[in-house]
Symmetry: C2
Subunit: 430 residues, 2 copies
Amino acid sequence: MVDIATRVWNHKWKIDPIVRSLIDTDFYKLLMCQSVFRKKRDTNVTFSLINRSQNVPLAKLIDEGELREQLDHIRSLSLSRGEGTWLRGNTFYGKRQMFRPDFMEWFENLRLPPYHLERVGDQYELTFEGKWPEVMLWEIPALAVLMELRGRAVLHDMGRFELQVLYARAMTKLWQKVEDLRQVPELRIADFGTRRRHSFLWQDWCVQAMLEGLGSSFVGTSNCLIAKNRDLEAIGTNAHELPMVYAALAEDDAALARAPYDVLADWQEEHDGNLRIILPDTYGTEGFLKRAPDWLAGWTGIRIDSGDPAAAAEEAINWWISRGEDPRKKLIIFSDGLDEKKILELYRQFDGRARVSFGWGTLLTNDFRGLTPDDRLAPFSLVCKAVSAEGNPTVKLSDNPNKAMGPAEEIARYKRVFGVGDQEAMEVVV
Amino acid sequence: MVDIATRVWNHKWKIDPIVRSLIDTDFYKLLMCQSVFRKKRDTNVTFSLINRSQNVPLAKLIDEGELREQLDHIRSLSLSRGEGTWLRGNTFYGKRQMFRPDFMEWFENLRLPPYHLERVGDQYELTFEGKWPEVMLWEIPALAVLMELRGRAVLHDMGRFELQVLYARAMTKLWQKVEDLRQVPELRIADFGTRRRHSFLWQDWCVQAMLEGLGSSFVGTSNCLIAKNRDLEAIGTNAHELPMVYAALAEDDAALARAPYDVLADWQEEHDGNLRIILPDTYGTEGFLKRAPDWLAGWTGIRIDSGDPAAAAEEAINWWISRGEDPRKKLIIFSDGLDEKKILELYRQFDGRARVSFGWGTLLTNDFRGLTPDDRLAPFSLVCKAVSAEGNPTVKLSDNPNKAMGPAEEIARYKRVFGVGDQEAMEVVV
């Protein structure tokens, strides 16, 4: 029986919007946004899209008009009453009223600021300028829109049946990973795959697969909308943009050297428990830990997001021991380039020596590798980063020089200030 | 948007009928039925279910009440006007009005005769007695009902999501076979999988997969309902039941020895071209061909349905040569226990030496092997055969003694009459 009304309704849409909610974003964005709203509300920043995979010619694949329609749709969104209620009323990390009334009132009145889009060769220049708490909320939806439009461009040429088999294969592939992971019931894994997901519906499916397949090993999702709709824990803490902007605002080298710790001092004022997670790699993990104040060693854990994850975890464990802390009580969150084999390998290596947890991103929600001829649906490395703050360029060194960003002379200065020597370059898959 | 009317409608059904049409059956059943209707209309026969896979305890898995409901539903079916129109108006094997007015009139007034069902241990005894043209039409729906009810019994315990992954895996598996087969565009393959299909919907999906994936290499389906709905060729010729019943009716050994040829003489009166396909193995291929009259060597081809298919094809080729025929103009149809590897192997072996074609059955429409724990959805070997005619037991020898049937003393008599010596036993997978 064809539901004529539904069919007619579906054909009335001018576009099929990719992002349909302001909370279709990572939880840590909202946490950081509140922090920025309180401490750096008037800071002017610029965020910019960076396609590290230059072999993916986004401007050839994606129609500029379609991209504008999607971005314009996002600008038309505002927080719904139900979304506001969920943010205000929910318990996050065991804490009620994580989001304070002044922030919620601001958020409920927010529309995302304008974007600047220009085609340059086969790529798009997409930038966002304005007040930090507003601009920063563009990152995740902008990435999700570009990833999904690129997918749609590929899917457009496929037959109905071919599409069904494609998704059957993707489901089979993911479920095989779930079956491998469920062999270790003690695992703790969260979905961190919003930004580079194949599509919203696919991420939602992946979350359901994790939920049914892994049970209590699946601890939640970084995606607030999915967490809300499926009554799951929203997961996340903080990201590189905080130290990057704080550093760019530093007035001299001494302030620059302090900046990564100033960020965390501000964070500590606001958060406790499992939200006190160090992200040490922005300007090199080794130097960061060496110079860290003792109060940081008291934090709950560390997130490892670049470089060789096992080496970085060993470094953290040694650092805790050197500061008189018991690493077995500490949490290590791995979140860089994970797949099921890497997850199991890291778990076996560090279980018992620390508490370990995994933020599984792109290869959870976008592992379409090998499913189409020429691999035209394989995920690629797209980021959207703060590139300047109050006119000063931002810099990221990372533990992997292939993830570094910023002007060469500034990178040199940061390396000097943070005492970063030779680094091992590693391929950035996703 | 929930279509409330559809949902309420679905919940009004007392059962979910498995067979919903009298033409949800193999095309060759209707061809044979017309032949029987013309020549042996009043012959009394008994058909009986035989589960060769005694490790599948059908009566433990399938509720007797549910089975009766499904069989009763089939008895309530009659040919719809559209089905009658399709049979009357269609071109089959290039011929119009394949089904004659007197047969069509009889068929349009047909309801299937009663069944006899009894539980014996963990198996069901299911028999059908009556006039041959009526009783013979029970075979395919009875098998389809039992296969699908067994599947439903297994699926009943699975979660919604687990079910989705199950079918995703089955689709992935079938599509891989399709991709392997499409490497050889000259292949000719038909769906012969009605009787042991996983379910009607799944067979229909498999047919669509073949159609989209193989294009003109997919030559049609044995299932009349699917052929009608999807505007495909209906495929099939004749089966063992013809010589088995003719043989059982033979009054002495001389008549018995003639019976398999009498059947084909009757067939030749009615059909020409691609419908003149010899099925030689009922009482041993070797003796059948040796004693065959010369007019049989003029037929279009042969169907190989038991024993070692390559050996049987070699035998047929040698026989044609010995009778002065050019095997390259002959058609060899393989239809026993095929899977994609076997199809490709046989094609490579015989392409150029004869025209080859494939009737792909159980492992097309029911390859759920390896998809559930304990393989509880794997296909199994269920048949429904004529076991007696006018009180005389039927006998099948086959080229594989594991497929033989009939009382021991009758098997011995048939072996003597048809000069069948030692045979190589081969495992019957499906």
